[in-house]
Structure formats: C-alpha cells, structure tokens
Symmetry: C2
C-alpha cells in the first residue's frame, strides 16, 4: 500500500545530507538553505545568489513590510547606489563607522575618476543631500520615504543571509520639524518591524534600545528588535534610529518654521534586510529541514496523489477539483503528480522545503470523502472532509501560524536566564540563550563582558521580565537591564 | 462662483514653468518630469533620483510585467551586482560591447582587489556561471528565471529615464534544451512586452528584428519593440535576445540529453527598464504636463470639493461618502480638500501631474445628485450621477485608457512615411517620424544612412505596412524592409 510505504520512508531523522542541529547547528543551517535551494554561493567574495525559493520568501517579506509602510504614510523612492567619497566625510561618526567596509569605484568609462565613489552601505548621506534640496519650509514636512535596494558592506566574516558583501534591504528615511515627531516615528517603525516579525514570520522579538557602543554610526539613539535562534544566539531583526540633527547639520537640511526662523530637521532611519530569511530558517527549522510560517510561505500547501497507479484515475478527478477550489480561494497550493518519484520521496522533499501543509488524496480517501492533512509544524495527520476543504485548510494554516509562534515563544522562554555575575554569564558557553543582566552604563564593563564571555549587549528591553540591580561586570548599581547574548 | 473662477484659471496653455512641446520638445520633457516630481538630478554623473511619483509609476510597470512573467512560468531570483573582470572575457563580442561602459570596483575593505569587479551592465555572464553549476540534465530544463535589479552603464550622453549611468530594469534569463524552444521563448517574451506596453501603457509598438549592427553584444538575434515619441523619435521599449549557445560555450553550460550525449544549452535574455517611464511621458504628455494611462497611474482619480466655503459643510458629507465608495471599489482615488489652495490651482496641478480623471463636487452638484467628471485625455466635462458613481468612474477610466491608445496610434500613423531614397529619408529633418525603407542587408548602407540623415535602423518589423523593393542607400534590391528613425 502506497501510503504505508510512504510512512515507512518517513524516518524520524531528516534527509541524509542535512547535518542534525544537535551535531553542528552552523552546518545544519548551511545544509538546509542549500538543500532547500534558498541560496547558492556566488563567485564573488562574500556574495550569494538568492535562488527562486529564497527570493520568493524575500518577496513575501517585502509585501508584508511594504503594506505596513504605506499604511503609516510612507512612499517608496529610489536613490543612486554610488556615493561620492566626500559625502561620507560630512558626518564624522558615520565615516568612521562605514569607511572600512566600503567597496570603491575608482575607474569608469575607461577613465580614472577624480573622486572615488563608494557603493552604498546605507543611504543617509545621499538622501540627506537630496533632502537638503527638497525641504525648504515646514510645509514640506514630514518627508516619509522608503527605499528597497541592494547594499554593500565588505564584511570580514560572512554568513549567508546574515552577513554578506551584498544584501537586499529596505531603508526608511524621514525628516521632521521637531525632535518629538522624529522620536515618535522612530518608535512607530520599530513597532512596525515587531508587528511584522511576530505576526507574519511567527518570531517573538524583544524591542529595546541599543547601548551606545552598539549604536548606528551617526545616530543619537538606536533601537532594535532582537530574535533568538534555535542555538540560543541573537539576531537583530530590524533597527530604527533617531538621528537627531546630525545628518541635517552635515548636509544642511534646514527649513523655515512657522515662527519664521531657520531650523535643522530631525531625521530618522530604519531598516530590515534579507537577514530576516536567516531568522525564519534558524527559528523554525528542524532536522527535517525548513519550516515556513504560512503567512509568508510562497507555497502553503502541497497536494500529492497516493495509492496504487491502477487506481489513479479514480483519484485524479476529485484531486484536480480540490486543487482548483483551493487555488481559487487564494490558497497558495501546488501539486506534485509525478509518477517517477515515490510518495515517500515527495513527503520528505516538501517537508525539507518547509511547506506548511500537505494534503494526500488516495482511493480510500475519495471513498470516504476526505483528504489526509499533514502538518509540517507538528507532524499531525488528520482527515479533512472534501466538502469543507477550503475552510479546513484555511483554518489549519491559521493554526499552524499560531502554533509556530507559540513554539518559538516557548523555546525562547526556556532559554532566557538571569545573570548576576560574570560567572553566571559564562554559563552561556554550555547553557545557550539570552541572559538578562544589570549594567552600570560604563563602556568598559560592556567590553569586559564581551571579552570574557563572548556575549554582546543585544538591547535594553522596554519591558524586561525583571529589573536587575547590579552591573554584571563590576557589581555597581545598574542603570539599565540588558539582554546579553552571543551573535553571529 | 468658485467653479467659474476655477475655469477662468484654467488657461489653455500649461503651467508657466513648462516649455511648450512646439518650442523645444527636449526642454518640455525635462520641465515636465521635474515639475511633476517624477525625478531629480543626483550628485553623481548621469544618475537620477526616482522621486515617489516616478518610482510608483515604475512599481506599476513592475506589477504589470511581473504578473505576465509569472503567468508564462518564470520565477524571480537575485544575482550579485559585482562581476569579476574575467567573466566578461568569456564571450568575445560581449566584452567588446560592454567593457567601455563599465564602472570598476578596484578597492574594498581598505585593500586593493586582485581582480577588478565590474558593476553589472547586464547579467548574462554572472547568470551563465551559475547556470553552469545548476544545469546537469535535460530534466533541469528549461530554467526560466527573471531578476529585478539596478544596472550600470557609463554612458557618454545621458537623459533622465532613457539613458542614465544607473537604471532599474528586469532581465529574464532562460536556458533550453533546443534552439526551437529558445527561439519560441524569445518571441513569447517579445510578445509579453508588446502586450504590456500596448494594453497597460497605451503605447502602440512595432515588433521586429534588429539589424546585425544593432544586435545585443553576444546575441545571435535581437528583437525589439519600438515606440514613437511625440517628437517623432523612436525609443526601444523592450528587447528579447536569442543567444544561441554563445554564453553556454563561454561558461560551459552543458546538459546530458535524453540521448545520453552532452550538449550546450540554448539561452535567451530579455529586458525592459525604467526607460518605459520616459516613453509614457513622451507619448502621452502635452503642454499641460503629464498624462498617465489609468491602468498604471498610481493615482487614477482626484476629488476636489468646489463652491463657496460657507456651503462646504453641505458638500463634505456626500464628498466623503463618494470617496469611500470609490476607494472600497478599488479605484485609486485621492482628495485635495485644502482650503489654502484655490480650486483653479488644484485643477492645473493635477492635470500637470497627469491624473486621468478629476471629480468636482459642489453644492449644486449635491442638489442635482451628481459630480462633475473631467477627463485629462480630452478635457471633456460631464456630470455623473452619484448613485452609479463607481460604475461610471470605472467606465470612464476604461474609456480614457482606450482613447489614449487610439490617440497614440493615430499620432503614430500620421507620422509614418515611406522612403525610396536617401533624399526621402533626409526629409526627416523637418517631417519627423518613422520612415519605412528598403535595405539591401549591407552594413555600409546602414552606416551611410545614419551618417547622412541621422536615422538609425530601429527594427525590421514582422508585419510592415508595406514591402519596400529597393535599398534606400544604394538602390539595390532590398532584402528587408526597415523602420528608420532618429532616436535619443
């Protein structure tokens, strides 16, 4: 019996080529994203190719974010990639932060350029220059613009999706008349990121403020959302910066206010990148491979006919009808009806690729008026009636989405600890996770923590589960409670 | 009376800052795209900024093309921007065609690179390299991938949207087992471009084949769609190339065929760019400014309350209700209810920005249960009943779309001529347009035509309105009938 054979094929361990997470999480990650065809290595240092399955996941992220940006009044635009060297000099901290990472165009059109052009690592400078031309009066404010673009940072250590020489992102750049408005925008967009990542990517995040040493180069305050991967490491899944008047002063972005005086605008910037793909993989994946949240899964449901070939004709009518109904209802469904591949191979294949739900239809299902639904998140199998299949499938996809978030939240909670001392924090070596610790506010203590435990200050959460009283490093009274964790 | 005043403001000439087309078409073009805020000049040679109104028009083009690419089986992916110098050397004609235009990254991360990296002018080389890793067997074919990306060509003469150092485009790259399949794909995608440009952009095009001298560097055959601007010049609005096995040989893209022999794949590539925005402006615009086809207009309908301020309260209830109904029906509608701007100013402003339809609502309209609809394409004004407003507006948008195409087609037909001799073609100096002429197939004749008349061979149309018998330049028997025109 085909289904029985298929079940026998479904070994609890994943496809052979994927290293188990428990053996080597980093190898599991690379094995998974390569085997699931999200990416491939490119023949340029630190660059990857986003293969269709990876790029479509990014397109889903773009859709989820873009609709939220537009709902909060932002419009998209596009600015040049090449930035004159002199632009970077106009904001002192910015140039120090980014110059070491820049690729430079020095020749073009067969001639040596008079001024080097940097490939944008972020666009505050170019956009600041343009805003200085566009903004004249308080009537021109606020300016609320977002850009979807490719970025370049010549990173020393690279890791697919998380840190690559070229990556894709969006960067919002806004200008406001007052500090209060700009700070409100900074927090609003942090909230937008948290909303998208929690609701669509099913990943719980901690919202908080970065410590000064982790601030964006040129920012007054930097905020982030931090997510915990399954190896307990942290990934910054989005950042939002209040830039004060730093770039406005560097680029002369001034406006005539209602009171007839000339003032500098207050700017913000905020970004999320293809790093989100790495988060989805490392938060939800398991030894079987990828697991994609239904809201962003490019393909939500795979339909596979089962049973002996001689009874196939009986199955295909109801099979095709069910496919059409699901598709017409807006479910992102596809079929694999190939006869040269075993059903067992197909089950493994689409589990490895993270398809949230599988529907099997065989002759006995047809007789019973049902299809067998198999969830990627739990492995649960249950018949659903063909009559109400659309509603059942939509309901199951909703349940899978909610369960994936709940599982990720439970995992995170299990891997959150408190550290009173450096010794407590050193436990991170074996007991991976996020550590809540006090901080006196001294850069030297943060440095010492990093050097002695490998943990970095992720952020100062707005609503920490606890308030820590003493600095983990020096024991002096804490002025802030910080999430410490290792990162990539 | 407000509406009367407004009408008095609506002078037949356009906003003062826009040079009339008849005075200087090039200045009209720049004036229009700047005043309508489609773009601004960037502080990098030959680069522009796509401002939100311009970028949203590009997003509309992306949507219209992307849905067609997906319907024909293509998937999106993303490949690196930086291409090693050695890659360009692998296809002889390709390197000669593109090397002079390349910007080169020679330094990165504080060090001089061992090999220069070119900023992609097109991605046949990078994608060819990757396809060589991915394609092993006939089972892997066809590969149907598209990329949306930024491109770089260090052009000597630049013109916003039409030719800039950096531009945005899509490039399809496909690999096939046989020449026949690859040629079919090449023609299919040319047809997709024609379908989009004619139906969505309301621009008639001539589909045809490029002459050898105008072929893409590395192609066996290049096809194009050519559109006529309002100054009679031609713009290539999309191209599709059959690349034969040229790139497959250069990059070693081979597959084991069903007959168990190793063969080179046949590849195609096809692209359309932000140049399309220039086409929309120069085909539909007039002395009042932009005119956008409803299908791609980011904003289709502007609603403006009219009448004396003291009666405004009476108007705003029905006004808001109408707005909500149109918006809920999916019409891209917006309002301008500002009191500090005159209605006359608003009328001019949104005509200049090319909004296809204006709805005015005043106290007398409310009494009559109507709104006044004013078409951008014809200037026609007619009351529509509030009851059936959604259907009326949708109907009008459809009529405007059809009429804009019809007008563009009529204009093109009026500016198509036949040339028997070089003398006939020289008339192009005063009588701008497309000239149908015979060609003997000799490059020298094509060169002579270009040098003596400034006209280039646009393409050899598949269905020319006439078959020309003799070569325009030498008088020998024609082997092809060619569209000649000036271009930018």
């Amino acid at each position: 019996m085909a289904r029985g054979m298929a079940l026998a094929d479904e070994k609890p361990q994943g496809p052979q080529e994927i290293t188990p997470q428990g053996v080597d999480f980093s190898r599991w990650y690379i094995d998974t994203i390569k085997k699931a065809e999200l990416m491939d290595y490119a023949p340029v240092r630190g660059c990857i190719v986003f293969k269709p399955d990876g790029y479509e996941l990014w397109e889903a992220c773009q859709r989820g974010l873009d609709v939220r940006f537009k709902a909060t009044g932002h419009r998209n635009a596009y600015f040049p990639t090449l930035i004159p060297e002199s632009f970077f000099q106009k904001e002192k901290e910015h140039v120090e932060g980014f110059n070491p990472e820049l690729p430079w165009v020095t020749e073009a059109g067969g001639e040596k350029l008079e001024e080097r052009l940097g490939l944008r690592p972020t666009s505050e400078t170019m956009i600041g220059h343009m805003y200085a031309q566009w903004i004249k009066s308080y009537r021109d404010l606020p300016v609320l613009i977002n850009q979807w673009a490719n970025m370049f940072r010549w990173e020393k250590r690279t890791l697919p999706f998380l840190r690559t020489t070229e990556f894709l992102w969006q960067e919002g750049h806004t200008a406001h008349a007052t500090e209060a408005e700009a700070r409100e925008e900074t927090m609003r967009m942090l909230g937008v990121y948290a909303d998208f990542v929690e609701h669509d990517l099913a990943i719980p995040v901690w919202q908080g403020q970065k410590t000064p040493s982790e601030r964006f180069a040129g920012a007054v305050d930097t905020y982030s959302i931090e997510a915990m991967m399954k190896d307990g490491k942290a990934v910054q899944a989005g950042t939002s910066h209040y830039l004060g008047t730093n770039f406005a002063q560097g680029f002369g972005i001034q406006f005539l206010d209602r009171d007839n005086t000339l003032k500098h605008v207050h700017t913000t910037s905020w970004g999320a990148s293809t790093r989100l793909l790495g988060c989805v993989v490392m938060v939800h994946g398991d030894d079987r491979g990828l697991a994609l949240p239904p809201k962003v899964a490019p393909r939500q449901v795979v339909m596979i006919p089962v049973g002996p070939p001689r009874l196939r004709e009986k199955v295909m009518g109801p099979f095709d009808a069910l496919y059409a109904r699901l598709r017409d209802a807006g479910v992102r469904v596809f079929t694999d009806t190939r006869q040269e591949q075993s059903v067992g191979w197909k089950f493994n294949e689409y589990e490895m690729r993270g398809i949230p739900l599988r529907l099997e239809l065989g002759p006995r299902d047809v007789d019973a008026g049902t299809a067998l639904a198999v969830r990627r998140d739990t492995g649960e199998k249950a018949p659903i009636s063909l009559d109400g299949a659309v509603e059942h499938v939509q309901g199951l996809l909703g349940e899978i989405q909610a369960n994936m978030y709940a599982k990720a939240l439970a995992f995170r909670t299990e891997h959150e600890f408190r550290a009173e001392t450096l010794g407590d924090l050193a436990a991170l070596e074996e007991r991976r996770g996020f550590y809540l610790g006090g901080w006196c506010g001294d850069d030297a203590c943060e440095r010492r923590i990093r050097e002695e435990t490998g943990a970095t200050a992720r952020n100062i959460p707005f609503t920490p589960p606890d308030r820590m009283k003493a600095c983990v490093a020096c024991g002096r009274p804490a002025t802030a409670t910080v999430w410490y964790a290792r990162t990539y």
